[in-house]
Amino acid sequence: MIIVDNLYKKFGKNEVLSALNLKIEEPGIFAILGPNGSGKTTLIKSILGMVVPNNGHITLKGIPIKNNWKYRQEIDYLPQIANFPGNLKVKELIRMIKDLRDMPADEERLIALFKLEPFLNKKLSTLSGGTKQKVNLVLTFMFDSPLLILDEPTTGLDPASLIHLKEWVNQEKAKGKTILITSHIMQFVSEIADEIVYLLEGKIYFKGTKEALMTRTNQKNLEHAIAAIATTPANV
């Protein structure tokens, strides 16, 4: 599905990604983890074409993404911080994104699930952080694309919505989609992820199942395993 080959990205003098290689072939839920500033968001934005890499190639379904934009039709992306144009109403924003993507969308079920009906006619600037995140989720999940990229999907969500989110993600996985998630909430990751991709200093430091990670680090829970991983010698 996604092949990232020898990817380099510098912001000024700060080298964020250096010689990053990643291959995700099969469907499933992949958690992209790593300390702050390890390059998770940069990697995701490179896949989306929002960040232009200094070197290296990314292909999606065998098609190089460089100077291409049509491939984004295959991706549903949930940005990290839900920053929307404030003078639009929720309804208008949903309608606009639908119009732009020109794809069948299933927003009604999601609006009902996250109980957003009372907010549909409100302006986005008046919404709370959690509600904005729910709108963000609706915008992402309403299309049916084979690749889902979720950057910190749990931010600001209440417990009920978190449960809905997990259910929805699992339901998408059952459809045979590839889902990339970044999160710092280890409980969420351990419940949902099939595989862990651990980034450190702009490289993939570990890629494998949760169990493999825990045996390698001799830890019994994922949170400690993640905390311990950077101190155990690498053998990816």
Partner: protein, 260 residues
């Protein structure tokens, strides 16, 4: 691109500032016509205002819109839309709504006054065309500045400086150089210098069409010889188009390489 243009345009048309801008020109048009009672004189006064105000508004609006719609832009970048369409659409949305405010705001009072029957219709249309060009040029320049500067305050600063330079400082330097080098023949020099500033270019173009070049002395005669002919007119128009196309091209070029 047209979808982006549509949304940017509607977004701006709904904003208060577009109405303020439109109403300003509407009031200006009516007041000038009824104070002057003469379309040709009103056109000259309008020119003096347009030549300074249109670039200023274009610059400020362009920078403001770019920074304010950053979130919207990032949302769009993750969608299956071409990068150049996003920026071209937004640019045309801003420049289009500003041009519409200008043309309608000035056009309505003049049409009501009976412009269509007066002989000044050509001068007036030329005024509107150059106004539209100035909007396109300065909005494109401001998008360039905003794209190259992440820092809002810096972007605003550079935009205002650019306007100040082209609207005021450039003329000052021009005049100084004319005084300094007055021993030498300067007609070609001033012609070329005029070409390199869209504000000067527009001003000269309108003034010479208004047949008051006799006031300008010898240089005026040289200018009249150049701008007054259809060849000069076409060259100046081409120059204005170049002033529009180059910044737009550079805007698309930077946006292609930029990280969001």
């Amino acid at each position: 691109m047209f979808k982006i243009l549509k949304y940017s345009f509607y977004d701006l048309i709904r904003s208060r500032w577009s109405y303020v801008y439109f109403l300003f020109y509407l009031v200006l048009g009516f007041v000038l016509l009824f104070l002057n009672n003469d379309v040709s004189k009103a056109v000259i006064t309008l020119m003096n205002i347009i030549i300074v105000l249109v670039p200023l508004i274009g610059t400020i609006f362009g920078v403001m819109y770019y920074y304010n719609s950053k979130e919207f832009t990032e949302l769009l970048l993750a969608q299956p839309v071409k990068r150049s369409s996003i920026f071209l659409g937004q640019y045309l949305g801003v420049a289009g709504s500003l041009t519409l405010s200008l043309v309608l705001g000035l056009g309505i009072p003049f049409v009501l006054y009976g412009l269509l029957r007066s002989s000044a219709i050509f001068d007036f249309s030329l005024l509107l065309v150059t106004g539209a060009f100035l909007t396109l040029i300065f909005t494109a320049l401001s998008f360039n500045i905003a794209l190259s500067n992440e820092n809002k305050i810096k972007g605003f600063g550079y935009a205002v400086l650019l306007w100040l330079f082209l609207a005021v400082v450039y003329d000052g330097i021009f005049l100084m150089s004319l005084i300094l080098f007055k021993e030498y023949p300067l007609d070609n020099f001033s012609l070329i210098v005029t070409m390199f500033n869209p504000i000067d270019l527009s001003r000269t173009l309108i003034l010479l069409k208004l047949d008051i070049s006799a006031l300008l002395g010898y240089t005026g005669a040289v200018f009249k010889q150049f701008f007054g002919t259809s060849q000069g007119f076409i060259i100046s128009l081409l120059m204005l188009i170049l002033w529009t196309v180059v910044p737009i091209w550079r805007m698309l070029y930077i946006s292609k390489k930029k990280d969001f």
